[in-house]
Each structure stands twice: as structure tokens, then as C-alpha cells.
């Protein structure tokens, strides 16, 4: 079991990333908070050690994605996220950002994951493949298809 010191450090370091991955997957703030707590509970109970900060960060990303997937599966919720989650954040978003987020959140789950990890966390396809436990070629395919959808919907820099 992790110490309180480890927990506080991990909270300061990864809370935003965990929250964003939850945002990408889940329906509303309430669900996000539940999964957020679950992720940190998993961390608290995690007995293994991490080779590096990068290793720890990738662990958080993978565990959060899995926790979101499990949450959705458990409650038999739709894999497609309605727009109320964006409404929660709308006050702090400009129109362009809100439109982009709405479009990303409409992507299938697998595309949302790769878009988030690739464009926000700036992981390489190889690293994303490791985090998601997929083949590198699969990640390239998903990234390519996700970008294609965004290009169709948004044009601009995605074109």
C-alpha cells in the first residue's frame, strides 16, 4: 500500500490527466469523480514499484482508461458520450474549443483514447500501443481514422 506522501505527490502530478481522460470517456462530472476516486484507490493499493516517472504516468493513463471502460460497461451506459459533459465545462471554454471537444467526444471510445494520448499527452504511437495493450499498427490505423473523422467534421488544422 502506498504512503500518504506518495498519494499526495501522485495527486498533484496526475490529477489533471486522470480528470481529462475521465472527461473524454464519461457522461458527467459525477461519474468522472467516481472513476477519479477509483483510479487513486487502485494506486493506493498498487504494490508494484515504478521504474520511472514515465512508467508511473503511463500506468495512470492505462488504469484510468480501463476504469472508464469498466465503469461504462458496468452500468451498461452508452459508449457515445452525450454533450452534457461539455456543458459542465462550457463556462471555461471558447466556442472553437467547445466544438472541438464535442466532436472528439462523439468519436468511438478507441479513437477518443488515441486522440487524447497522442494530441494531449503527446505520447508516440509506440507508447500508446503499450499503454492500451494494442499493436503499434492498430494505433496508427485508429489515429488515421480519428483524424479523418475530425477533418471531415472540423476541417481547419485537421484537414
Amino acid at each position: 500500500m502506498k504512503s500518504a506522501e506518495d498519494l499526495n505527490r501522485a495527486m498533484e502530478t496526475y490529477a489533471d490527466m486522470v480528470r481529462r481522460i475521465c472527461f473524454v470517456h464519461l457522461k458527467n462530472r459525477h461519474d468522472s469523480e467516481d472513476v477519479f476516486q477509483n483510479v487513486y484507490m487502485k494506486y493506493l493499493l498498487h504494490d508494484g514499484s515504478f521504474d520511472s516517472i514515465e512508467h508511473e504516468k503511463a500506468w495512470f493513463a492505462r488504469v484510468t482508461i480501463n476504469a472508464c471502460t469498466d465503469w461504462l460497461r458496468y452500468f451498461s451506459r452508452r459508449k457515445w458520450v452525450p454533450l452534457e459533459v461539455v456543458d459542465d465545462e462550457k463556462e471555461s471554454l471558447d466556442d472553437t474549443s467547445a466544438e472541438l471537444l464535442e466532436t472528439v467526444l462523439k468519436l468511438p471510445e478507441k479513437y477518443r483514447n488515441v486522440i487524447y494520448l497522442y494530441y494531449y499527452e503527446e505520447y508516440s504511437a509506440v507508447e500508446i500501443a503499450k499503454i492500451l495493450g494494442k499493436k503499434e499498427n492498430t494505433i496508427y490505423t485508429w489515429l488515421s481514422r480519428a483524424k479523418e473523422i475530425l477533418r471531415d467534421k472540423l476541417g481547419g488544422e485537421w484537414a
Binding site: 477519479f36 476516486q37 484507490m41 471555461s92 472541438l100 471537444l101
Partner: protein, 246 residues
Amino acid sequence: MNAFQKSMSEVRATEELKRNTLQYLNGQQEKKGRTKSRHILRYALVAACLLLLVGTGSYSVYRKPVSYISIDVNPSIELGINRFGTVVSAEAYNEDGQNVLQHVSVKNISYIHAINRLLADESDLLYLREGSLLVFTVISDQPHSIMEELQANEFTQTYETLLYTSDTDCMAEAHSHEMSFGIYRAYLELSLYDSSVTVEDCHGMSIGEIQTRIEGCRHHNAAQEQNGQEQNETQGHHNGHHGGHH
């Protein structure tokens, strides 16, 4: 910063979310700690019960002597030894032996250690001098290993040491006469040479005195045999026979 990063940059974990999560986890940690304590307590209780059960068995095994050594100098002392080679009982069979055991602690240590402690006792209650006679009589399923260990000890260099074996029947008879089985074995040997000797005669004798009488009888017998042989040889010569042929 790309457009996606820009749009996501405002999505953050609020301080309230972090605080609530930490509070929740601390609560879970305490609960787990309490559960763990209860589990530890439960395991400790189970372990204590097991220890009590196993311990009771082990303790009775520990306490049970499986071998005995009678140490006879002038004091006569019997040591009971458990299967681990530890002295678990010590009985004195004369006044000198009682004095020794009052001064020297011999229980719960190895028998060699116990014997060395008795021999090294500075109060000189064993009346040991260089060359004194020290008789060890062993009763055991495997007496030879004990005898070898005794033989290998340093005191065999300092004192005249005799080693004998005996058995539990002999021990029971000895105890019925309130003497050590070492003394009783010596009496039995002496009675082979001298049928007139009684247990009562030996009761007040030291092992050295009995041993001296045994030696005396042996010499006497040996001398008689020698004389007998010589007489036979003389008669044989007179009769024209060679005794060696008989």
C-alpha cells in the same frame, strides 16, 4: 500547443475533487488499517491456540527423559536427558549428591555441558582430585553415541573414567533400594565375584570402594585361576597329560 491541447487545457481536476478524493482514500486507508488490525488480532489468537496445542505436545516431549546417565564419584547423581540431549531431570542418591545439586544448576542444558559444570564446580563437592575415579553408567536406546561423546570429553584425560551401560530394569531395582543405577550395576558386578555381598553392604559405599572390591575380587579370581591352572598342569605332568589340551 495544438488545438486539442488548447481545448482540453481548461479541463482540470479541481482542488475540491482532489481534496474529496484524498479524504475518501484516507478514510478507506483507516478502515483497511482497522480491518487489518482485526485480522492480525484474529491470526494472533489462532496462532496462540495452535502454539498452545502444539506447544503442549512439544513441551511434554521436551520434558520426557529418554536417556539417563548415572554419575558416580562419591556423590551419586542421575541425569534424565530428553531426545534433544538436554538435561530435564536431576536426582541425587546420597547426601553428597544432594549438596552438589543444591549448588550446581544442571537442568535445561546439554548433558555434556551439565557434566562439565558439575566437574568444574569450585565448591569441590565432588571431591575430585586428579586421577579420581569417575564412573558413568548410561541407559539409552543408543548408549554408544552418548558414551562416545563422553569419551571424547576432556575430563577423561584428567580423571580415571569408566563407562558402563545398564537398562531400565536395573534402574527400577536400583531405585527400589534408593541407590543410583550406577552403584547398583557395580553391586551386581561385585556380587558375581562375591556372593556374600548384599545391596545393604553397598548402600553406604562409594563407587570407588565398590570398584576397588571388584578389582580385588578380579585379581583374587585371576590368581585362583592361575593357581588352578598351575596345579592342573602339575597334575597333568604327573599323570602324563598336557593341560593345554583340555
